[in-house]
Symmetry: C2
Subunit: 398 residues, 2 copies
């Protein structure tokens, strides 16, 4: 899942990251991305009913600007969520500061935050860091380094930066899609589920919101780490159109691939994860059936711990499939791990358990179920559940 | 939550447990409960679409016998689930053997199994153990010891037997309700979720199914350990009517209390649990809102790990409440732990965190949320999530 680092940024964008001292320790925690001029963006936000101040602000700014965005400011270390009116004022102040520095209308600035919920947001640290951050935009750094720093600056409990890139043209000089993301805890489908920023210098002819919704549906909404959903999460698609035009179909495919790559990187880097798990459900009657069963299996703690223990415990997969609520044919259902089938025609196949066990020893695991009711397939991704997940989350704040 | 052991069994029932060698190790694993004559029973079964052979058999027996039950046979160590036709035949053979020994119609015998899914059921061990089990029915043992042994024989990863008793009359001589249960892993609402056997020598005038459904709804369906649901689980209510008549209202209350006690014992003994957690949601507009929010919080891994770490992380409680989907008023919502409030009027109350931290150090923890939309309350119960949960489930079968 390692992606080649870009040798140039998408045309029309600059990005810079600094250590503003918001997140604990010596690390980058404040990211600014600036478009040369305001250009089209669309954003999918968390569906949590409790939303952080920056989410409320960015939603309203996007509406007021008609989806025209000049800059985004993102911090790690503090979510600015459940911080009351003071939090709202802090997010507003951040946008004001950026807008003033760039000389653009304030509604063209979006704010994103991730980190601890309910701690006062240290707006004075953003104020102090902003001049350096603006200078850093033009500092001498390679595009590779810029993207690495940007992806690192938005991490929370992630163990590695998440970057995906897709070339839309024939070579490095053509239009591209570049995405960075952060995830780890509080990752769950049906929500925007994390921070993702996807930039492109192409100019898709279809509405951005439709494109993004479709891509998110099959990627970020198909991953789960712990079933929790943050108050802050968002995926942004932002296009400058500065590169030469490409066919629509290529943009769609590239966007899908970029989102899926980022989503899988997030699932594989779930808190405490040692393995990326794909749950593939096929022979379903309807797409919703396949997705429901795949998600239920992907969310089963018993399945996730069995994978962690490298135990080919197909009974837990079957039990999870059974409680998903989607129709299945108990006589036709087949369950397998990797290349082998472990249960079919209402009978276990214990002779295949050794092969399944070997497959589980790898770092990428496939669990599959055939429902036997139709011809539709869908996959979800998750990670194993380890003692480290508990350690990370029992100690995260204290 | 320790219940006084009964000084006598409900009139009209005998029970016996032996070590049949089905579960690993030196332990009781086969339980027989016999009514002096067939009497009324009702059962709530798992809603999983994949059901074990004994569940299919017992469901059909209850239907054929019109809810008249003479005996139940329960084993731990093997779920007889996903074992195909051979499993069906084994469950049928168990019922045949018991019916033959007691001289009753086979449909008056119910079979329950719990343990590993997908392993061949060792019917020959049941056959070999049955004569001793029948003798054991009349062996000299105190009622206390009988109930202890019965509750121990159905345990899987439980760390302690679960027993609840309620006196319906004025003293020990009056009618009573006696319940035993097993739980631990695969505990989740919306399903029968575990094995529970509730016996009474009272004779309620209302339909058993209605009484049991109502009691289960507010007890077993309000607990969650890991969100998984077994293929086998069932709660049985079985009444002999051998004691003198009591008023209906007392039976209902007693049944509710017995079910709630067993459910809380199960939640508090969840796999790897160190604390019993009550999630109480109040000031909701509708009962379903309160239950939905309470369940979502109770199922949040981030909440459960924070409690394990004794971290008063109210932000995670609020985030879980927000994603539950029930209406809430973000300006009126209040969140607290134990006696103190940690968030109200859109503001954290950090001065109360010390008191919350002290409360979290206890073995019974209360998390509460006021939604601010109405006047309805509901509670759910769960346990903290510890490294031991992972260890138990990563190693359970291997």
């Amino acid at each position: 899942m390692t992606e080649p680092l870009p040798s140039r940024l998408p045309l029309g964008f600059r990005m810079a990251a600094v250590d503003a001292g918001i997140a604990a320790g010596d690390r980058l925690d404040l990211l600014l991305i600036v478009a040369d001029e305001a250009c089209s963006a669309s954003c999918v936000f968390t569906r949590n009913r409790v939303v952080a101040s920056p989410v409320a602000l960015s939603r309203s700014h996007l509406e007021r600007s008609g989806g025209q965005v000049r800059a985004i400011l993102v911090n790690a270390g503090n979510a600015n969520a459940c911080t009351g009116e003071e939090g709202d004022l802090a997010a507003q102040r951040e946008a004001d500061l950026v807008a003033e520095a760039l000389g653009c209308p304030v509604e063209q600035v979006l704010i994103f935050s991730t980190g601890v919920i309910g701690s006062r947001f240290p707006i004075e640290k953003v104020e102090a860091a902003l001049p350096g951050l603006l200078l850093e935009l033009d500092a001498e750094r390679s595009p590779e380094e810029r993207v690495q720093r940007a992806a690192a600056a938005i991490m929370t409990t992630d163990t590695r930066p998440k970057i995906a890139r897709h070339l839309l043209g024939k070579d490095e000089d053509g239009p591209q899609i570049l995405g960075i993301a952060k995830g780890s805890g509080m990752i769950h489908p049906d929500m925007a589920t994390m921070l993702g920023f996807i930039l492109s210098d192409a100019q898709p002819s279809l509405l951005l919101q439709g494109l993004l919704q479709a891509a998110v549906q099959e990627s970020f909404h198909r991953i789960t780490v712990d079933g929790d959903t943050s108050t802050n999460d968002a995926v942004l698609l932002w296009v400058s159109g500065k590169a030469e035009e490409e066919e629509e179909v290529l943009f769609l495919e590239g966007l899908d691939e970029t989102c899926l790559s980022l989503a899988k990187q997030i699932a594989g880097d779930g808190e405490g994860a040692t393995k990326l798990i794909e749950v593939r459900v096929s022979k379903a009657l309807m797409p919703t059936h396949a997705v429901t069963v795949a998600k239920t299996i992907a969310q089963s703690l018993l399945v996730k711990t069995a994978v962690h223990g490298e135990d080919p415990n197909w009974g837990r997969i079957l039990a999870a499939a059974g409680r998903a609520g989607a129709p299945l044919d108990t006589r036709k259902i087949r369950v397998g791990i990797g290349e082998v089938c472990l249960y079919e025609e209402d009978h276990p196949l214990p002779e295949n358990e050794e092969a399944a066990k070997r497959h589980l020893q790898g770092s990428e695991v496939l669990l599959w179920v055939e429902l036997g009711t139709g011809e539709v397939s869908a996959s979800c991704w998750t990670c194993d559940l380890s003692e480290d997940y508990i350690k990370i989350n029992a100690e995260y704040r204290t």
